[in-house]
């Protein structure tokens, strides 16, 4: 116990005397939490529209002003031919072309129907899909207005009508930041845990100070605990700073209990630190350690459901998310912070991550060798 205390003293001193590490620990959460959520907004709005109006009629003008008034579209240009409008798409100036044919108004009134043509830059498929859907629904709305002008409907609606009432729980304002911030907190904690811990040990290897420890009677588990505990504490500190920023900057106050969050984070950090330790025992210099942890983090984070929904992934990727600790924590954070899930709701997550922690740490202790 005494040995461990001295080891801890050494580690904490080392950490606090290195200003760059302190900067990483305190500045990184700020930068990430203050900037990332602003960038991560998938809502499709401000679609740049190019209009090719061959008709120049009252109807075509009405339709255009209705589209621009909707708030989703910004009129980028009026072009006199389709190829000019296409040129705007090629130059990334506009996203969508609406072409109104000659005699649009005449056909609509006299021939009972007319066709509009749209072309959408579909490199970003989701945006194209939604943009097209928005424009279509605006046109349909306008269509209804036109129809009302010409047709007198009977007072009692003869059509069967299903009314759809939709409500959005837990985040009624559909604020994307409520969704992103808890996920980014996970990112922070994970980076501190895996990166810093593995780099710390490998640095000792690289500059040779690990030899000094290896010749002392310090036991394997003591050495590893001595490395684990400081970063475990740091991880929780980063989490607290992050939660504070989330509260002050975005007004995110967890609906669930703080105890649930910290209990899970405590176990989760053990798992991530175990991973960091494991990486450090299998690498010999910081460059390697960093690349490998970076590589794994990238896979874990991208497949962790932070940016895209896990449900939409193919089966093999979903299988990977089951052995991905990051995805469990992201899930838990969102559940507890936004929905107020309790410990019993997340018990399955908790047990799984605890299993990871035991497995990874045991492996790390076994593979750490005092002899080189």
């Amino acid at each position: 116990m005494r040995t461990l205390r001295f080891l801890l003293q050494k580690e904490f001193r080392q950490i606090f005397r290195d200003p760059s590490i302190l900067r990483i620990i305190f500045v990184m959460p700020m930068i990430q939490l203050l900037i990332l959520p602003w960038a991560a907004d998938y809502e499709v709005k401000d679609i740049q529209l190019s209009v090719v109006d061959h008709d120049h009629s009252g109807y075509s003008r009405q339709l255009i002003s209705k589209i621009t008034a909707s708030g989703y579209f910004q009129l980028q240009s009026y072009d006199n031919s389709f190829s000019n409008a296409l040129h705007n798409i090629e130059k990334d100036k506009s996203d969508l072309i609406l072409e109104i044919p000659v005699s649009f108004e005449k056909d609509l009134v006299k021939e009972n129907g007319s066709t509009l043509f749209m072309a959408i830059d579909a490199i970003n498929g989701v945006k194209a899909n939604l943009g097209g859907a928005y424009l279509r629904s605006i046109i349909q709305d306008y269509n209804k207005e036109v129809r009302l002008k010409w047709v007198q409907f009977p007072r009692f609606n003869p059509e069967k009508n299903i009314e759809i009432a939709s409500s959005n729980w837990f985040n009624p304002l559909m604020n994307y930041k409520y969704f992103m911030v808890p996920g980014i907190l996970v990112l922070l904690v994970t980076m501190v845990g895996s990166f810093l811990a593995s780099l710390n040990i490998v640095k000792e290897k690289e500059i040779g100070t690990i030899e000094q420890i290896n010749v002392t009677p310090v036991k394997k588990y003591q050495f590893i605990l001595g490395k684990l505990i400081p970063f475990w504490v740091l991880g929780l500190i980063v989490l607290s700073i992050g939660m504070l920023i989330a509260r002050l900057a975005y007004g995110i106050i967890p609906v669930g209990s703080l105890f649930t969050i910290y209990a899970f984070a405590g176990v989760y950090l053990l798992a991530v630190l175990g991973l960091g330790l494991l990486i450090s025992t299998f690498t010999s210099n910081q460059q390697q350690a960093m690349l490998i942890s970076f590589f794994m983090m990238m896979i874990f984070i991208l497949l962790g459901g932070l940016y895209t929904s896990i449900d939409s992934m193919p089966a093999w990727a979903r299988a990977i998310t089951r052995i991905n600790p990051v995805s469990y924590f992201i899930d838990v954070m969102r559940m507890v912070v936004l929905k107020g899930s309790s410990l019993s709701d997340i018990r399955y997550h908790l047990f799984t991550v605890f299993g990871f922690a035991v497995f990874l740490n045991t492996w790390a202790v076994i593979s750490y060798k005092k002899r080189s």
Binding site: S20, D46, V109, N143, F170, Q287, D311, A317, I346
Partner: protein
């Protein structure tokens, strides 16, 4: 010149003898392309939903069947009461609940009017929005079918064409982004670290004391990574054409030329970082926060730039990856020539020269 070549050779030895690093450097683009190409989609499908059917009649069963048949939904469970909705949301699996009131079909047949309620778990607003839209579309479909779709007068039809990417594949958007990311990582991070590493373990002193000019030492460090990135570009392009079916519509040589330009920009940035730091951890931290995060966040391939607040939109202009991403998208997918992208190319070239001059100026021959 001879000296220089032997220095380049030395750097190659460094890289080739570290098998793990080499493996990751070459494997990274392959893994990224696979993940981005197949696993990450913003599309929403197979979402688990719950149904609370208080009516259980012909209409509700028919709607439920249609919802179950669509690829967007996976009916996960049938609920019995309103209280079940909240608890199933809290367990985290279910994303949407559809509630049919009692006498749904009766109301629909006799009063021509019935109500259905969609409750979405909006902790993910994107998914909530999309699922509500999809479910509404299916219900409206059903409604139209029972109305026999009388042809309405005065109809405006719309014809839609998806340009460049008619199947709306996510890969078209991601491949250019992954190229930027991989090049950034290999060039900036690795160059920064490899120079700082020599400083940290003390071998830089030996190099500086040798008769070779310092500039050559630094250039020799950059050359292998330039070549490595060329290999990576080749593997990304091959994978995207043959595995993901993303075509190269423009001129291949133009694409390669622009990639080399971007690679040089990244190398210059890496050298600048290495000239201004002394420890690998700091170098790594700066490359990650200064280069990698902005590349992911502000280049426009993960998050739409036009949605960002003004300060971020302005900052995005100084991120080289943004311009490279635009160029690759234009050349590779839209198939345009240099005429449309000369502006972006000039900006990138300007950034490269600026960073390179700065790096050379900052590089000190004497160690502190």
């Amino acid at each position: 010149m001879n000296q220089f070549i032997s220095f380049v050779r030395k750097e190659f030895y460094h890289i080739f003898r570290d098998k793990r690093t080499l493996f990751i450097l070459l494997g990274m683009p392959i893994v990224q392309i696979t993940i981005f190409g197949f696993a990450l989609t913003n599309e929403v499908k197979n979402s688990k939903i719950a149904i609370l059917d208080n009516s259980k009649d012909a209409a509700t069963i028919s709607i439920t069947n249609q919802i179950e048949a669509s690829r967007y939904f996976d009916v996960y469970k049938n609920l019995r009461s309103n209280n079940d909705i909240e608890s199933s949301f809290k367990e985290g699996k279910v994303k949407l609940a559809i509630v049919f009131p009692q006498h749904f079909n009766e109301d629909l047949q006799h009063f021509n009017k019935a109500q259905v309620q969609l409750v979405a778990d909006a902790s993910d607003p994107n998914v909530a929005n999309t699922l509500t839209n999809y479910a509404s579309a299916i219900i409206i479909d059903y409604q139209n079918r029972i109305n026999n779709e009388a042809k309405l007068p005065y109809t405006i039809n719309t014809e839609m064409r998806m340009l460049y990417n008619p199947q709306l594949k996510g890969a078209y958007n991601f491949v250019p982004g992954v190229m930027a990311m991989v090049l950034m990582l290999v060039c900036t991070l690795m160059t920064a670290i490899t120079v700082v590493r020599e400083k940290e373990i003390g071998t830089m002193e030996i190099l500086l004391a040798s008769p070779i000019q310092p500039l050559k030492i630094i250039t020799a460090k950059a050359v292998p990574y330039l070549l490595l990135s060329m290999v990576n570009i080749a593997s990304i392009l091959l994978l995207s054409v043959f595995v993901l079916d993303v075509p190269i519509n423009g001129n291949l040589f133009l694409l390669i030329f622009e990639s080399i330009l971007f690679t040089l920009t990244c190398l210059a940035f890496g050298l600048l970082i290495s000239a201004s730091t002394d420890s690998q951890q700091v170098a790594m931290f700066i490359s990650l926060t200064g280069m990698f995060l902005p590349t992911i966040m502000l280049s426009g391939f993960m998050f739409p730039i036009e949605n960002m607040p003004l300060p971020l939109r302005i900052i995005s202009n100084i991120v080289p990856a943004k311009w490279y991403y635009l160029i690759v998208k234009d050349v590779m997918i839209k198939g345009v020539g240099i005429g449309e992208i000369w502006k972006e190319t000039l900006i990138l070239a300007g950034m490269m020269l600026f960073l390179l001059t700065l790096a050379i100026k900052k590089f000190k021959i004497r160690l502190a």
